[in-house]
Symmetry: C2
Subunit: 158 residues, 2 copies
């Protein structure tokens, strides 16, 4: 294979990264950058995943969320199996450019969680007391919107 | 020092973690869990940081965001210097319980970014073309709400 140059700018000074307008995302030791996906209309946080250099570039170009699955160690075009493609309405990065935020509209069932919920964050943690191993979560989302066994069958979830 | 037991439940089966109601957060190899903070009212994503076992437990108990600063390698009670304390209205976790989401109301200036912006995600990435090192970000937030040099002076930012 031919070595390809990065589609992203090099990171120079801290000031340039934090206050400038050059897009110079930081990838971690595994070559990944975390990505938060939120619903473009409601603002609800839907999921959290990672992108590689290649899949971040592909997401920018395509306007659909393409992640890197750490568990499967492969490119993960969200919705390829489930139909829950995430159309990217807006992409942002944070002050030190080591996190990506995407505002998306989800196609198909509208569920982004592999369990069929609209959001992966469907359970709340009780506050106000020191947590213990007996601390119980509360389900705070309606759903699921689909049956994962029907949608994925024996396939990996995407 | 006395060894203290974890305030969180052990992670047993994948089904228990994903579908159950036992709070069993996963900490990475560095003992940290990522945390997304959003504005409790507008839903806007404000910042992304990490918590340790101790600071997650403290956040739950106190109802104020306490992070672990990776750059300073120390406990980080958000707002201790700047006054931008994040009061936690709700905490959630995701399907595999390896991410924390907090809905917060920010005291003081209302800014969560150390540069004085309400959100760290104040710049947008242009979509629809393959990114290049010349790709320019666009500032999409008003601000900053405070002057970092005045608020922090020579102190570390918190």
């Amino acid at each position: 294979m031919t070595e390809t140059s990065s589609p992203f700018a090099a990171r120079t000074s801290r000031d340039a990264v934090e206050k400038g307008t050059t897009f110079a995302p930081k990838f971690d030791a595994d070559g990944l950058i975390p990505c938060i996906a939120v619903d473009a209309d409601s603002g609800a946080v839907l999921m959290f995943a990672h992108m590689s250099v290649e899949t971040l570039a592909e997401t920018v170009r395509l306007g659909e969320a393409v992640y890197w699955s750490r568990s499967r160690a492969e490119r993960w075009h969200k919705g390829a199996t489930s139909g829950s493609v995430q159309k990217v309405v807006e992409m942002r990065t944070d002050c030190d450019q080591d996190v990506i935020l995407i505002r998306v509209r989800v196609e198909g069932s509208g569920a982004s969680c592999h369990l069929g919920y609209r959001s992966c964050f469907f359970r709340a943690v009780p506050l106000g007391a020191t947590p213990t191993p007996a601390t119980e979560l509360t389900v705070v989302e309606d759903g699921p919107l689909f049956d994962p066994d029907v949608v994925y069958g024996t396939k990996d979830k995407s």
